[in-house]
Symmetry: C3
Subunit: 437 residues, 3 copies
């Protein structure tokens, strides 16, 4: 996409979507048909990182043709593709023959005669082992750059973490990346590959479902944080289960892993959208069975579930919760509901809070209280609640992450400007892009 | 057990059971009585790894006699014991005196004059610290091998991970095992020891119950995966709680930890059986309170709980779930139930699916859809559901783990062939042993 | 507090409370007012470690004055402060200017002319990066010691872990602390800082709440265990949520993390008290929705919830649990309740059990059964249950942690003797202080 090679792999600070496409499909009139179709995606359907996949998504017998397809399609359409382009080649820590084939595929794709390399941002290397194995892939990239007259380190390298060795290697990157004997500074994405990881760990579940691997995802996110890289979660196989995909992304973001693999343009839309703050804020209420979203109705936030029950009784209230009834006066009820309630701020709310804090800071204040009020209604009984949260510099910095993400998206994805304006309105978009600058 | 010493610790790829026996019991007519009894176990009651325990299970004053008992009993019965035999000796990272005693115990047990060593596969070293401490134990084993004219590296070494240092050491094994200055290639099992680990971490729970230590178990499994070793969980103290033991093993397998400590022959039976696929498949249904096993009745799968409710209403249905009622048409109901249902395949199911995929692969297909259909009945209302799952090479490889385990058991445990045939039938056993070969 | 500098950072084996105070408040008559007030805390309101906070709690423009306030207040009151005193200075792994200011602040505070340093136990360094960054802070401390004629290594160093790099560094401490090129043996506390860690990891949650970071806390606790240090959790912002603070501490203790940050004297009281065993034991019952505390009434332990139901029926019982009814005879009912029940021992109970085990050990027994009996009442039906637990040396050692903590508190906090006697009675306190000595 970009043409200054040394800057390529630093272009994006966040990657929401990692979208793979088979490079060659057997039996079709045009084996590159899926590549061509993916190259045409724009706006929310287009990923942040597009991965022509010359490994698992493509049959072994088609991979030679696949590498040529990548050259042809990227040479023709690469300049217009809004995504960064990172083809995946074959690789295996335990197989020199596979590594040799991966080397050849990289040579083919990066050959300037094909006209694709100026739009190629880097390569994705699957099935890496310990750090020494990462260095082999790095060295092959250096040799490819030398052979083709590309600047050393100009092609980025992303890896699929799908072995215990690779998980451990992420703890050593920070030390290894500084050494003059390698070009590991080219590293870009750390992508979990849970299917093969499960095989490598020899894990089993009764139904064959993948384990959740929370520790792997933590370690990937930490490895990325410690080495200035970007963490991406693996594929979510059940394409119809949109709710499950969203839940997984919410979990991932709480681990600092903002990106996720997408298998279809539909998943790309979900994954491009999910990390952005909602267009309208809303309240959650913990009713003992989980956090339930309240329904706004004429300025009140109504609870429709049956986990909680409330009725006025004399001067006070009876609250039924967790299978028990409590008699509470008005203040106790407010406290109880406040403990159970939480507000999910909209983009506009975040922008307002940050602007307010910035103004306070300029006026010499180190901390201010942010107040949020609502009327919550349970069984027809309305209760006013009001929460204060202290904001200091650290709160401000932590709250800034969604805005940093938004600004990164806005800068690098002009093709999504319309969708963002539709979602938030022009004024909010404008204020969000100017915050903290 | 085996007599080719260099191959010994590579014999097993999986270890389901790690069964400890006191080496000497005070006050008994025959202090080796428990050893003799354990040496006589066969079939599902006999563990994969038998550990005459000259450490915590045996009183300190009895350990000298214990080492001699091990020699005597193993010399006499070792050739017939179906398990690998790995005595545990004393050791402590912080005590040279304890390490010295452990060295002496190993010398005694491995002395060819006693006639036991040809049946001894290796030693278990408890209370190890950082990698340098592991190297001390390794060196003592090398010296014992030299003194007794055994081949260098022929005795395997397993460790009990029961300190923070040892947990960290598991991240370095891969690097350290290759070095010419040690024989750490002899490593075999990484066994968690949660009681002493809890003490070392100074952890406390209100009731004195052990913490679950999910991160320790992950790190042990990962360390084993990265270094080609086998991960084993620690003892489950509440011997009567069979359900709890099974739940723990299910959790462990989802982490890639297939083996577990067994304290009684009853626990050995449970732990030898649990990792094997069930003899008959069955459906689970998530009713909002967890995954409930459905009851088969005349071809339908019946839900007996009260977490879900279903009734036909006009053209459609009313489903009560998670404390809410939803009106659904037939398609929506099928989708909803499909999301909640999951199938636990039997051994025969797994063999069928793998054979089907192997045939498809031979016919040049890289991926096929596996369909699973059932009639689920809730409150007397029957609903047909059908799930498709795409299988590709990676799915196949990950699904193969239980078959690899089965084949490993079948190869090394002829004494369990009858039990396996009883469980699965001869035909399924035969097909399972031939898969992928 | 103490005057033998080399021993300072080894004084405490446990730290329950880490209490920060702004060093200089703008606009007040006396900018050191909060420091003076904190220096006057005694008894359960006084923390184990007091941290005059010249970083985040104090406005940047006030920090020069803050360092001088620390000198003044500690010189005047330090001798009487029951806590260890560890001022926090500014630091940042990515900013030489910040590190330079931190160096100057340490020089100011440790200058013997100010008269404070003899009461200063060490410094707290925030925002550290990899181990090399820790070494820079260590070296500055060495230079400060040299400049001011203090013994090398006499000032301890505690760090705030609030970056992925620092989390990884905790895995290397054990190796690094032994090297002659540094004085990292001065390390004392590893303190998590979840607000800035969340920012560094770029994690996001819908409501802006902090993620729970269980892996970080495990790794901090493990790092402390492996290097002989003390793990402390970060601040709990919602000061009114006492229940939440207690739950967090219970979780932390199960991870081996005994200490926690306290933001107010009220939180200090909670955090000083929480790790001590309760004054009276009580029973918990798992009713399917969690562990519920039973209410003692005239020798019976009464269940008041509605998750479980019980009635006598003919010769047996009907137990309603998890949305199902089971018919059970008396023995089955006892077994079922025993599985669901757990006892939380009081300090006196722990002392009794340990004394009993010590006596048994002296009599030559390696393991004894500890019995605990109770009458549990559900829906007016009383059931006797009795649980046996085997105690061996390992159980004893693990159970000893709360007593070790108590003895450490008793030795170092004479100002809390009255509160401890009020809580437990003089006789129990006396027996607890003498156990195992």
């Amino acid at each position: 996409m970009t043409t200054d090679p040394t800057a390529r792999h630093y272009d994006r600070e966040f990657v929401r979507t990692f979208f793979t496409t088979p490079t060659a499909v057997e039996g079709a009139d045009d084996s590159a048909k899926m590549l061509r179709s993916a190259a045409g995606l724009r706006g929310m359907e287009a990923p942040d990182v597009w991965v022509p996949d010359n490994e698992d998504a493509t049959a072994p017998s088609m991979r030679e043709e696949g590498a040529e397809n990548v050259v042809e399609v990227v040479a023709e359409h690469g300049a217009d593709v809004p995504a960064e382009i990172h083809p995946r080649v074959v690789w295996h820590r335990d197989s020199p023959a596979t590594r040799y084939r991966g080397f050849q595929q990289m040579r083919t794709i990066a050959d300037p005669e094909g006209g694709a390399v100026e739009h190629i941002d880097g390569f994705v290397i699957p099935e890496v082992g310990g750090v020494d194995d990462w260095k082999k892939a790095d060295e092959f990239l250096t040799i490819v750059e030398t052979e083709h007259g590309l600047e050393e380190g100009s092609l980025s390298m992303s890896v699929i973490v799908e072995s215990g060795e690779a998980e451990l290697a992420m703890g050593d990157l920070r030390e290894e990346m500084g050494k003059p004997s390698n070009n590991l500074e080219r590293l870009f994405l750390l992508v979990d590959g849970e299917v093969d990881y499960t095989k490598d760990m020899r894990a089993m579940t009764p139904t064959g479902e993948l384990p959740e691997w929370p520790e792997l995802r933590h370690n990937t996110s930490r490895g990325a944080s410690a080495a200035g890289l970007i963490a991406v979660d693996g594929p979510f196989d059940d394409i119809r289960d949109v709710e499950g995909y969203r839940d997984r992304m919410t979990e991932n973001r709480a681990k600092g892993m903002t990106g996720i693999w997408s298998l279809t343009p539909g998943q790309v839309v979900e994954a491009n959208t999910a990390p952005l703050p909602p267009e309208a804020g809303y309240w959650l209420l913990d009713d003992g069975e989980g956090e339930t979203e309240l329904r706004e109705d004429d300025g009140r936030w109504v609870y429709d579930g049956d986990g909680l029950g409330l009725e006025a009784a004399g001067d006070g209230y009876v609250l039924r919760a967790d299978g028990r009834e409590q008699e509470l006066d008005g203040d106790e009820l407010q406290t109880e509901l406040l403990d159970r309630a939480a507000y999910v701020p909209s983009m506009a709310d975040i922008v307002d809070s940050m602007a307010e804090f910035e103004a306070a800071k300029e006026a010499g204040k180190g901390a201010i209280a942010m107040t949020r009020a609502a009327t919550i209604e349970i069984d027809g009984v309305a209760v006013d609640v009001e929460s204060d949260r202290m904001w200091d510099e650290a709160t401000y910095q932590a709250a800034k992450t969604p805005i940093d993400l938004f600004q990164d998206v806005y800068e690098h994805r002009p093709d999504q400007h319309d969708a963002l304006a539709d979602r938030y309105g022009t004024e909010v978009v404008e204020r969000a892009t100017e915050l903290g600058t």
